[in-house]
Symmetry: C2
Subunit: 210 residues, 2 copies
Amino acid sequence: MAYRETEKMRQRKAAARQRIAECTYQCVAEGGFRNARITRVAQLAGVATGTIYRHYESKEDLFAEIFRKATQREVDKVAEALATPGIATARLEKALRQFAERALKAPVMAWSLIAEPVDPKVEEERLAYRKAYASLFEQAIREGIEEECIPDQDARQSSTCLVGAIAESLVGPLSPAQAEQATADDTDNNDPLVNTIIRFCIQGLTGARR
Amino acid sequence: MAYRETEKMRQRKAAARQRIAECTYQCVAEGGFRNARITRVAQLAGVATGTIYRHYESKEDLFAEIFRKATQREVDKVAEALATPGIATARLEKALRQFAERALKAPVMAWSLIAEPVDPKVEEERLAYRKAYASLFEQAIREGIEEECIPDQDARQSSTCLVGAIAESLVGPLSPAQAEQATADDTDNNDPLVNTIIRFCIQGLTGARR
DNA sequence: GCAATTAGTGAATCATTATTCATTCTTTGT
DNA sequence: ACAAAGAATGAATAATGATTCACTAATTGC
């Protein structure tokens, strides 16, 4: 008898899988999922196309994983912002700002995650993650209601409104058409945009003029 | 010399084009753009696939036209609601309600217009129409600021938030996954949902508790 | 009825990519 | 070094549908 999978091999395979994931991520970051063909990913990763399929069931599976990882990172950041000490409204504000600013800093990836047309399996992930964001916000809203800095309301619905308002506000600035006219000035002050979104959202929640 | 295009022929062609458009609409209303293959549309319309191409440059062109017509209808309804007499906030409320209720009454088409992944040319139309909605709202917000029932703010940004909040709130209830579990009770009271959205939006605009 | 011209047809073609799989290369334990 | 097993390869295949185009059918004015 002979070949038995060894630790070294396990690691090598894991590394290959990792590399494929990274290269896919890179492709998406450059031009969206549309831009990430299997052949291109394989080329970048320095493997044959067939090899992709030893690590992933299908393109959709690969994409779904990339989407999941990328979005999870963002969700974590929002969760982090919501976990800081302070009253609920302030924490929500921080979280919304975090969301918007991170998106504007990595616009192509953000656009892919938020608005690029994607395959069904990936779209499923997107819906799931929109729910994840909403759930985080929902929890914070509940806490705000508890603390009485937010009036009683359907926290779930309101959280969905938050997600929608912020996502829609970003679609314009993030969309590739917009990106083309790359504002030479790359400091590109987005503060007013972000501030307006936040004001609308917090007012929507609290009904208190800011 | 001989054949010269006559009025009768012009009309017949127009009728065929119209029929193709209607059948495409029907396909989309049944299962989204995904469901509307050219062969299926041709079959429904009782013409050969090639005939489609005597009336439309390409599938994307056909789809874009269908999208445009369908959305224009909705935009008109919103415009109508905004054109009634009354203070700006009341008119905005009417318009938002109109938007949401019409969507919930024709969920498959609404989902296609709002959230179905579509080809680039159609996506362009979608972006354009989201802007059309936003522009209508923006104008009403401006009027509200004039009337002093809405505090001064970036009307364009706020209108985008409105569009986002309402669209996102509808995506869940409209999504095909959701539709599967067709609530037997087809009166399916959506009033609480719609009311919550509206409250959030109007509060977001006015900062006044409702 | 005829010639000119356009409309309509739909099977065949094309285009695009994901996916497969027969083959080659590596690793492993003895 | 060898045999067994798995990993990697990438050219060939498959699948999906949009689009074409050589051909037929209709329409028109004479």
